[in-house]
Structure formats: C-alpha cells, structure tokens
Symmetry: C2
Subunit: 278 residues, 2 copies
Amino acid sequence: MKTIATPAGMQAWSRDRQADGKRIACVPTMGFLHDGHLSLVRRARELADGVVLTLFVNPTQFGPGEDFAAYPRDAARDLDLCRRHGVDAVFMPADESMYLPDHSIYIAEESLSGTLCGASRPGHFRGVCTVVAKLFNCVLPQVAVFGQKDAQQIAIIRRMVRDLNFPVEIAVAPTVREPDGLAMSSRNARLDADSRKSALGLSRALREAACAYAAGTRDSAAVLAQMRTTMERAGLRVDYAAAVDALTLKPVAALADGVLLAVAAFAGGVRLIDNQVL
Amino acid sequence: MKTIATPAGMQAWSRDRQADGKRIACVPTMGFLHDGHLSLVRRARELADGVVLTLFVNPTQFGPGEDFAAYPRDAARDLDLCRRHGVDAVFMPADESMYLPDHSIYIAEESLSGTLCGASRPGHFRGVCTVVAKLFNCVLPQVAVFGQKDAQQIAIIRRMVRDLNFPVEIAVAPTVREPDGLAMSSRNARLDADSRKSALGLSRALREAACAYAAGTRDSAAVLAQMRTTMERAGLRVDYAAAVDALTLKPVAALADGVLLAVAAFAGGVRLIDNQVL
C-alpha cells in the first residue's frame, strides 16, 4: 500500500494506473476509520481495480464553534486498517498542501445546503463541496463511494458532480450500525457512557417512524412529533427531525416510499446524525 | 472536424484520444472568433495533439444589465474558421445542457474578484469560474489556452486551478491587435464608427504609460491620471485605470517590471478592456 502526501503525487499515481486501463475508486474520509468506512472500501473494491482512501480532516467544513480540534484522529491505526482491507493507496495530505495561505476559491451549493445540517452548520457544505472537488481532482477517480449516513452530503455531492460535469460516478453504501442500532460515526468515540446510551434515541426514533409508516401512517407532522419525543426522552437535544424528498431535500407533508427521514441531535456535546429512506 | 453538443459526448471524445496517449488542449471561447482566438488555436496546436475549441456564450457571467442578448454570435462562420485552422473538435453545448433548470452549484473566487472588472461586474467571475470548471470537466484537457487580454480572468483561473487542484496547465497567448492598436475583441463588432475611433483611447493610454515607464517614471498615481485623461479625451467613459501586481491584483504605488497596467472603458455602450505588463 502506498501512502501519498501531495496532490501532484496523488495525480501521478492515478494517471499511471489509468494509462494501464485501470479503474480507480475513491473513498473520501476524515479518518478514525470504523466498520462504516471499511464497508465503503469493500464496495470500492467491487467497483474498481484500484482503491484510494483519502484521510483528511478538512478544516473548511467545520464552523468556528465546532469540533475540528476535538475531531478524533489516529493515522497509524487508520493506515493499518487500510493495509489489512486491501486499500491500494492512502492520500493523506498535510493541511498546508491542501489549503495554501492565500486560498480563495470555494464551491457553494445554493439550493440543497440551507436545510437540515446546513441550517445549523452554515458554511459546512461549502467546505464539503470544496474539499470533495479538490479530492476528485487529486485522485481522478472513475467512481467515488460515500455512506448513506450522510444523506444530505450525498444529495449535494451528486448535485455538484452533475452541475460541474465531474466525470465521476457516485456510489452509495448503506449505513453500518452497532449491534444496538447506533449508526457508526467517528464522533461516537467522543461519547461518554451516558451520552452513548442517549445516542440510541436517533436510531430508535427512525425505527419507530418506519414502523408507523409500515402500519399505514402517512402524516409527516405526526410522525416527526413522535420522533422528537423519542429523542428528547432518550436525553438528546434535538437539532432537527425532518421528512424530505431524498433528491430535492424539500419537506414532504405525506410520507411515501423513497422519502428520507433525517435526524440530528446532540448527545452530551456531540452532534450526531442518522437517517432512513422509507 | 467533429462538432460535439453534449458534455458526455465531449468527455467520451477526449477519453478516447487520451487512451491513445494523446494530449488535449482546450481553447475556451464565447465564439464570434477573431484573430485573437485563432492565435490561441495556433498556440494550442503547438502544445497538444488534439485541439478542442469551446463555443459557448455563458449566461452566468453576464449581469442583469449586461450584453448577453446583444453579444455577437455567428456559429456557421465560427465553425468554418475552426475547420480552416486545424481545430479537431468544437464543443458547442446548448444552454440547457450546460445549466439544468435547478442548477445550484457555483464557484466563487474571494480575493482577486472584487477589483478591476469584478468591481463593476459583480458575479462576473463567479460565472467565469463556474463555466471554466465545467468546460475543464467536459473537455478534460491537459492544457488550456487563454488570451492575455483577459488578464484578471487569467489570474483568477490560475487561482482556481491551483486551489481546486485541476490537473490542467494554463497557457497564455499575447493580445492580438488591429493594425491601429485596438485589442481584438468580439465586442468590437458592436462599435459604430465614432466609438471605433474612441476605442483607440485604451491602447493609446497603455502605450503612453509604457513610454513614461521606459523614460523613468515610477509614480503610479501620475501615470494613471494621465491614462484617464487620454481615455477621456478620446471620448471614452472610463471604468478603471489601474496599476496592480499581476498575480495578486493588488494596487502598486510604484511602477516596476512585471506590473500590470489595466484599463476598462465604455465606447458608446460597449465596454472594452485592455492591459499591458510592464
């Protein structure tokens, strides 16, 4: 497995392989890898001849009061996991090789970014779009694999790929969960015992909503109110509970197949998200 | 020569050639080609095995009161010129294949775009960056050739390429002028006889400034005042006359080798620009 530190080195690695007709898949991550990430690697290996995992905690997608400094990091462990799971190259750029001091170009999405996580994290998706475009131009993949847990991110990145004509296919892998239902997230490492228990409120609220839908409930408002109650009872501070169209992220009044139920809540000081497509 | 109307068709054409190890050069234009554009094509042929000229009047770089509708167009003539000058493919997308009705992704440059043309054309360079990124992702060139006449555009596109890691080299070809000094521009076609005469004020002001510099003048303010006077006497309405660092576009108090003198002025209703590097 190759470890690559610079954009130019990464481009050269991919170009070499593509000159031999090889297909490259990219798995963008912020590191502190868990089974969710490793499921993306497995999917990437099915879709391409070479798998590049990117390991970069992107400063531009964190707001001033957010957890950039506290975001968990363990590069040695991440590299070991990559080695054992068949990653061909890890792109691990230094902050200063990704953002020069006079960096001044940003990519903004202006329709899907104001709602859900974007409403409470202004600038977050601008940072995400900017770094993903950079990673695409460094790795030059034919396909990139993202996790369903970040449903809004997927909608926005698909929009970016479409609107900027990136020659990259976007593949989505299902959310991987702990045995008790908690969606895997690097941020779970920051939960203390109480918050870890509260955190189950997110997946529980989604499961209950899916059951209500299966039982015939179609009224979004009623289902969302119940989801909020479930999360609050678990001890969570709710950021949002929403029922939206999975592509446009516009709220829907009536539940239907394909509708995205999405939640965000704070367990202790840790912000967690989860979602479920009906 | 191939004419290509869709982003997917363009990507396929370039990928085919690149699979054979061919190098592609892109010449982005808004059409109504003149000798300036054709000099870019010649430069592109020196730099690559295949030349793609793009022909697209980009709506997102025109402001509400600007000349998008009046911008001169003659696709038949442009295609004929391309054929006779060794262009291998013309990418000529329809507006609706470049911008879907719910297009929502824009690229903004936040340091170099507020000055010079950006000051009087808010949003212009956002449109330029967005469309150039799209064209790069459609044409997938190794190199793109731009004209020195659009000096601020070059600085901003270089910045975009650097900050988003586009694997594209930017080449610049000198401004081509009419025998009397007027910088070639598609917009010159919109000048009536009087305005055509006034338009000479731009290149005259730059020539005088270059002579003053050669004679030892270093005071920017004095030189810029003289440039304004020259343009006003020619009957132009001056938008700006500036002496700036060619990379940062920051004003310089003292003239020196490499400083960019840039002017913009209205001749009749037509906005013209020109520049000179000392």
